[in-house]
Structure formats: C-alpha cells, structure tokens
Symmetry: C2
Subunit: 225 residues, 2 copies
C-alpha cells in the first residue's frame, strides 16, 4: 500500500484545525468566505478584518495559521499588510484573494511574501486547493495568472551562454554592468586602459553590439552576469 509511504502528515485529520483569519472589506464577500471556509472540516475561522491595519494587529494578536487576504483594502492595502505580517511572522501563511490581474500587482504580492494567489470569481474548490497548498508552505497560483508569472521568470533564465566570452572578457563585462569606466576597470583589474579597450572590443564583437551600453543590456538580458 503505497499510501503508507506518506510520512508523518497524513492530511487534515492528523493536524488540529487550521486557524484562519479573513481580511476582506466587502461585507458580502467576507460573509461568503467565512461561510465557505467554516464549512471546511479541516479549518476554522478565528477572526475577520476589514482593512490592512486591522489585519496586521489581528494577525499578531490571534496568531492564525493562515490569512486569507484581499488586496484592495482601505487605508493600507493587502500587499503592504502581507509584507508586514510576513516580516513579523514568517511562518504565517497568506493566501491572497483578489480580482485584480495586473502583472505588477501579482508580482508585488508574491514578492511581499504571499504563498498563494487566487482570483475572485474562480471556483471555491480552487480556493480550497490554494489553502491546502499554503498550509504546507507550498505556492499556489491561479490558472489565469500562472503562465504569466512564470513568463516573468525568463529574464533570469540562462546558464547556457549563448555567446562564449573569455573569462577575462567576463570580468570586464561585469564591471561595465556596474557602471565602471574604462580607467576604473583598468585599475580595478590591474590592467592598462588599452587592455580594457581590447577586451571591450572583443565583447562588443561577440555580442554584436556597438557600445558599452548595449553590452551591459545584453549582459543583463542574457544573464551573463
């Protein structure tokens, strides 16, 4: 029986109830959330907040295991609230629930420490799955945004140097990206300015660019740094 391979935590029955704090300014939405979450037999709603400041206060006071956080909140928005909560209680999980789908807001939310990102209007089943993920520390991203988030990742993706720069050229390139001038690079690498220029020429040739600015941009975009 393969299910015995599953270590310690064999799901919701072993754990005590997951204590949940709901942060939502819309009364109707808040009621609906509470109804749904309270119906789940593995968790209990222990508090509600209508704005960001109340959320932080309540989170520190009640110490819930998980916070369901709206983003569009009066006074202090959900992203800032998440940031502060996560800073003070890193192990407290935060499920962000919002109707906004801007890339910037999504990224900001995830960078602020949110564990899951759900879209309002999606099925309640998905919210339940998101909570399941978050409770273990795993990340959940709504189907509508998952691809978009991962596309934002490609900027870092590299590892396979498209252009084979020599080690020394890489040294120079790094300093160029740091904004150093040729004389500065020369003194930092204990080279003459002429040598730096030679390497720079090699870099620009291999990268097929015309100046150091494009070289720096190419270096960043291709993750050569």
């Amino acid at each position: 029986m393969p299910n015995d391979l599953a270590p310690a935590e064999s799901a919701s029955h072993v754990h005590p109830l997951l204590r949940v704090l709901i942060v939502e300014d819309d009364p109707v939405m808040q009621l609906g959330l509470e109804q749904f979450l309270d119906d789940c037999d593995s968790l209990e709603v222990i508090g509600r907040a209508e704005d960001g400041y109340a959320a932080i206060t309540l989170a520190l006071e009640l110490e819930p295991d998980l916070v369901v956080m709206d983003i569009g909140l009066p006074q202090l928005d959900g992203i800032a609230a998440t940031q502060q909560i996560k800073q003070k209680s890193p192990d407290m999980r935060v499920v962000v629930l919002t109707s906004h789908m801007d890339d910037v807001e999504i990224v900001a939310a995830l960078a602020s420490g949110a564990d899951a990102y759900c879209i309002k209007g999606a099925s309640l089943e998905q919210l339940a799955v998101a909570v399941s993920c978050a409770r273990t520390g795993a990340a959940y991203l709504d189907p509508q945004i998952a691809r978009r988030v991962f596309n934002h990742l490609q900027c870092t993706h590299s590892s396979a140097p498209v252009v084979p720069l020599s080690p020394r050229e890489l040294d120079v390139l790094k300093l160029i990206v740091e904004g150093k001038s040729n004389p500065e690079i020369a003194s930092e690498l204990f080279l003459s300015i002429s040598t730096v220029k030679t390497h720079l020429r090699g870099i620009m040739n291999k990268l097929s660019v015309d100046d150091r600015v494009q070289a720096a941009v190419a270096a960043l975009r291709n993750g050569l740094v």
Copy 2:
C-alpha cells in the same frame, strides 16, 4: 458541496478520471509512483515512459490529461520533453518531480511550461495536492523552492516607481536601454541633442547614477522599461 480540503478526492465526483502518464527512469520510483497515483480514486495511470523521447511519443499518442515528469532522464531530459509536449499540447498538464533544486533548473522547468514543481522525498500528500493544482491549470511549487522562485521575480518587480521619472525622461531612458546614442535619441524623438542631454541629466540625478550605462542597468533592474 463537500468542502474537504484533501485534494485528491475533492474533484472525483464531478470530473471523469484524470488520465495520467508517468515519466520516470528509475524502476523503483516508477513503481512507487504508479502505486500511489493509481490508489487515488480520481485518476488512473494510463502509461509509463523511461526517457524523454518515449515521453513525447507516448504523450502525443495516449493524450493523457496530465504527465508526471522526472527531470533526470536518459537521452532527452524532462525539461526538453516538457517543452515539446507543451508546444504540441498546451492543455496537457505537466507535474515536474525531481530531486534537483538548482535555481536554474527550476526556472528552466517552469519556463518550459511545467505547471507544478515537486521535490522528491516530500510527502505523497504534497504530490496529490500538486496534481490537484495542475489539473485545473493552476501552478504548484514545493515549499522548499517556492520562496526562491518568487525571489527571482524581484528583478522585474517595480509597479511603484521608486523613482518618479517624467514621461519624457522615460522615453529617453527606453532609447538609452536600446543602446541609442544621444544624437540618435534626438532624431528619434524629434528633439535637439541638448534636450536629450538635459533629460539624461535629470534621469541620472533621479536614479543617483553617474552615466548612461548605470542608468540603463538601473532601468533594467528596477523594471522601468
């Protein structure tokens, strides 16, 4: 509706059985996976593959709803296989299951189109949750890597312009990032070179940098482009 958070069962009544293809070169691991997955009453294992090429062939032939994909495969690795499968069948879900935790590999896997990323050695319950996420198109990231992935996001993170550049300055900055020289920028924006230089000075002041290279780098790093 039943609000059981245990994900493996939650969808079983509404959806037909989820047809799963297992790709794993280790025979023991493959057997264990099949045992566990087949035990879940909401899905059935319809095929197995031991290498990347077989995975692609079988995926196109059997048209499973979901593929559980190992990364370390002989001949063609799981990332390349995922990429090809996703290219031909975008709606086919892929759960990546591996023991590697390099950032580059994780990012590569997600960029290749994987819907979920699980770490071998984690509980089977987590795999079940990952499958639940992936089946709806949502993303799942193992707790051990979730934070790391989102930290990679910060490169793009901006939204709240740390530095408020004027619209015109942004125009100039964009062209600088494209490697344009001042004269080129001037003619492209129908400005005089002097104006471009003025804006550039403003940009460099606001970004607290000393030259156009650092301005370009700052623009990329802060996502002002």
